[in-house]
């Protein structure tokens, strides 16, 4: 930022810092008084706290109890679903293995390699 000294009567000679300071101080110098809003604020908060107690409850929340061992119905359903999906995947893999083995056997037979697998 510039720190040039201002020339009397010359606004263009004001440094950035001085111009900023002068500008805000002139605007706020309109304010000879500051409203004391604390009583009104506390009154509004007190009234709101009565009207909406749940929004103003500042007591510490109780610690949630540990979950019981018994699974909830939703959890049980989810487990059954997972088992079903895994079963389907296992069946598909088994079918693929059987198909691949069958194809290999057919291919070997077509080449007349019966009995040569021991060589």
């Amino acid at each position: 930022m510039m720190h040039a000294e201002s020339q009397p009567g010359s606004l263009t000679g004001l440094s950035d810092d001085r111009l900023g300071t002068v500008a805000v101080s002139l605007v706020v110098s309109d304010l000879q008084w500051t409203p004391d809003i604390a009583p009104a604020v506390m009154d509004r908060i007190t009234r709101d706290a009565v009207a909406y107690p749940e929004q103003f409850d500042r007591r510490p929340r109780p610690v949630a109890p540990p979950r019981t061992a018994a699974p909830e119905p939703r959890t049980a359903k989810r487990t059954i679903g997972r088992i079903a999906v895994i079963s389907v995947i296992l069946v598909v893999v088994a079918v693929l293995i059987v198909v691949a083995a069958t194809a290999n056997a057919s291919h070997a037979a077509s080449l007349g390699l019966h009995g040569l697998h021991l060589i």
Binding site: D16, V22, L31, W33, T34, D36, I37, V41, F56
Partner: protein, 193 residues
């Protein structure tokens, strides 16, 4: 949450915030009294009307109190309040149907009030003639809201670079660029005046 202003012998912001978060209303009231003036000034810079700024300041502290439990403490208290105040002030201005930038207001405060503390750097304007002061004020009024808040974050509230960037919701590395741009626009408006 980090403290920004603590008078010796007074509890730190952090301990008051912790107490308020546990439901200590007296702790929150102390923080309201500590920060009501800067928050009111943020609101005033946006709405440029004392009544609207007062209303926005009240809403800021009510909303901040309700948000305390969900505040993770990564922002300093002043940057956090600055953001909420800016949001509340924009909302108040929208609801009031007032134009984005109003003419210079006639100062009036309704309800309880106390004398404003002196503005840091106000003496810097003493050497200017009334006409020059009017040129600067009018040029500042014609700036966009973000430019006004950027300049105020550094020269009125004297926030650190990090806190100013947090308050304006920009990356810390971009702050100086934003500030330079805002000041350049201010100079342009002054020339245009």
């Amino acid at each position: 949450m980090t403290g920004t202003t603590t008078t010796p012998g007074e509890p730190a912001d952090t301990s008051l915030v912790d107490a308020a978060r546990r439901g200590d209303l007296l702790a929150w009231e102390r923080l309201v009294r500590r920060y009501q003036e800067p928050v009111f000034r943020v609101a005033y810079l946006i709405v440029r009307d004392s009544d609207l700024a007062t209303s926005a300041t009240q809403s800021t502290f009510v909303r901040a109190y309700r948000a305390l439990p969900s505040n993770d403490g990564t922002l300093g208290l002043m940057p956090w309040l600055f953001r909420i105040a800016a949001s509340e002030s924009r909302q108040q201005r929208r609801e009031s149907g007032r134009p984005r930038i109003s003419s210079r207001p006639v100062e009036k405060i309704h309800g309880p009030h106390y004398p404003a503390t002196s503005v840091p750097g106000l003496t810097a304007a003493v050497g200017l003639s009334p006409a020059e002061r009017e040129v600067v004020s009018a040029a500042f009024d014609r700036l966009g809201e973000e430019d006004r808040l950027t300049i105020a974050s550094r020269y009125l509230f004297r926030l650190s670079r990090k806190d100013a960037a947090d308050a304006l919701s920009i990356a810390s590395g971009l702050l100086e660029g934003h500030l330079q741009t805002a000041l350049r626009r201010l100079r342009t408006r002054m020339v245009d005046a």
